[in-house]
């Protein structure tokens, strides 16, 4: 029997996952800028400080390297910290802690160290926030062995993937598109942790596979609706985690449709779309009826001015014309 569903926002889903995990495990704490006093810069965490107190929802100084580093040390010694980077761009400030410390301590210690830290970082352009508050840097984290990377596209996935991240004994970076915080979606009363490395077919189809991440899943679904009107059946797949990556589901889908378009908001060069394309070429080359099309963000710093910003982000028209170009 499936539990009844309700509509909640992506932001509310993030808060729900954190609250449920903090209730079930008292070693879960949260560190970040403005998370307690303001409920986060996007206001999605309002109420957590009241429920869990300032010893678990901890406002930090504006010192990303410092507090992410503290999170790593706390994770090594018995806590399960969630650290928040209010803008994923600020990951650059904490990169040594994430890349050289968190990701490598278990390996370098020959399996002695356990680093159960969850790093939540926002991503995505669209708010006219310009080049230092808009980047989608999930490829950075995905490139580093020792980090798991989750990138939910729906409220339900946000809950399930965050729960898994918090319970995971490894460092996990969770990327949340800030433009989706207000987007609603159906969520059952009870959401279990969603295992990492399991892609989700968001819409089944037969003619072309659209592989999309984060808010680009919404773009792909919208494009699939339009394509359906013209008799083109698109399958939309969300890998949900970059690391580990569910290669099989991608390969199986493309083996069926013979066509693939990959949509991701990271810059196109040297990024996620290239990696996913090579997975498909390796696994489904004989089934491909046309070259794979990659649609990433334009290889420029994200511009401020609205028409310029819009031009850099993939949209449904890009997807529709890409599909028509290969069918």
């Amino acid at each position: 029997m499936s539990s009844p569903e309700k509509e909640i926002t992506f932001g509310a889903a993030v808060k729900q996952a954190i609250a449920e995990e903090m209730r079930r495990d008292e070693t879960v704490i949260m560190l970040g800028e403005d998370i307690g006093s303001a409920g986060g810069v996007f206001k999605i965490l309002v109420g957590l400080r009241e429920e869990f107190g300032d010893q678990r929802i901890i406002d930090t100084p504006i010192a990303e390297a410092g507090y992410v580093g503290l999170g790593v040390g706390a994770a090594l010694t018995g806590l399960r910290p969630i650290v928040e980077l209010m803008f994923g761009d600020f990951m650059a400030l904490a990169m040594d802690q994430i890349v050289n410390q968190a990701a490598k301590l278990r390996y370098m210690s020959g399996g002695q160290a356990t680093v159960p830290i969850t790093i939540r970082a926002t991503m995505g352009a669209g708010r006219s926030s310009a080049a230092q508050h808009s980047q989608s840097l999930h490829a950075w984290a995905s490139h580093i062995p020792g980090l798991k990377v989750a990138i939910p596209s729906t409220p339900k996935d946000a809950i399930g993937l965050l729960k898994t991240a918090i319970r995971d004994d490894n460092p996990v970076v969770v990327f949340e598109d800030k433009m989706m915080y207000a987007v609603k979606g159906p969520v059952p009363d009870v959401v279990d942790p969603i295992p990492f490395g399991v892609a989700d077919i968001k819409r089944p189809g037969d003619d072309v596979t659209l592989i999309a991440t984060s808010s680009m899943v919404l773009v792909a679904l919208s494009a699939a609706d339009e394509l359906a009107k013209e008799g083109i059946s698109a399958e939309v797949i969300d890998p949900r985690t970059m690391v580990p990556l569910d290669k099989d589901t991608l390969i199986q889908s493309v083996s069926k449709t013979g066509h693939a378009v990959i949509i991701d908001e990271g810059c196109q060069s040297f990024g996620i779309t290239g990696e996913l394309a090579s997975v498909i070429y390796d696994g489904a080359f004989d089934y491909l009826e046309a070259p794979i099309v990659r649609i990433g963000a334009m290889d420029v710093p994200v511009p401020f001015s609205k028409p310029l910003e819009d031009a850099t982000i993939p949209n449904e028209h890009d997807v529709i014309s890409a599909v028509k170009g290969i069918l």
Partner: protein
Amino acid sequence: MHRIRRFEEQILEIYTSGLMHGLAHLYIGEEAVAVGVCTALRDDDYITSTHRGHGHCVAKGGKLDEMMAEVMGRVTGICRGKGGSMHIADMSVGILGANGIVGGGFGIATGAALSAKLRKTDQVAVCFFGDGASNQGIFFEVMNHAAIWDLPVVYICENNQYGEYTATDSVTAGDTIADRAKPFGIPGSVIDGNDVVAVYEAAQEAIQRARSGGGPSLIECMTYRHRGHHVGDPGDGYRSEEERQEWQDKDPIAQFKSALIESGIPEAELDAIDAEVKAEVRDAVESAKNAPWPDVEEANQHVFA
């Protein structure tokens, strides 16, 4: 101190004879710092160490055979040969890791202190770092965190007066590194890092303060490395002969030995300790030499828990 000295001398020997590869940063000359501080710690306290970390690990209870096998890349090493000299960690005795990043232990040690405080244990974390690391930005970030939250962490600066090949005072503003604690309201002191008793007493006071909820401290231990930055560096050129001799004369082990003999401890007793430690180190090398290399499959293990 003797155990560390003999361990490091043996490292020099195995390195130059080709039994050890990679990098070896010797702790010879600085032993009083690690020993003075770690003697004041409990087994369940934490330390973070540096690229020059063998001494800290020995002093905190690391096992010589497991450390020697580690620096020689053998599977019997404490980190199964995957960390090497710069990454020795032994979670069973609170060694949260030596670190190849200068200043890499700041966040970890301060976070361990936060964890101890939130878990309501009375554990203390000690962060060993060098004078070079005192110019990393994260040093100031963690001191701020430690001060605002009264964290049980003690920052131990080993000022050996050179960051690699560069004289510290030529790249470091202010009179002392200890002064850098003052703006944060953290007690800072400068002590003779070659006097093991002085180090112990200063560390003991700071550790007790941390343990009893009195917050962080910074102790700057003035010391000197007898050897170069690493084994491949002869250590001359950028350091004068006079200066090196001056510090050689202030050798922490020789000084402490004289003091002990003066206090009535028979020299023969001290020599016996030395012989025992030498044998222990030799045994560690022998067992490491005979230990197997890791299977290549090991390369793909322990990436994730």
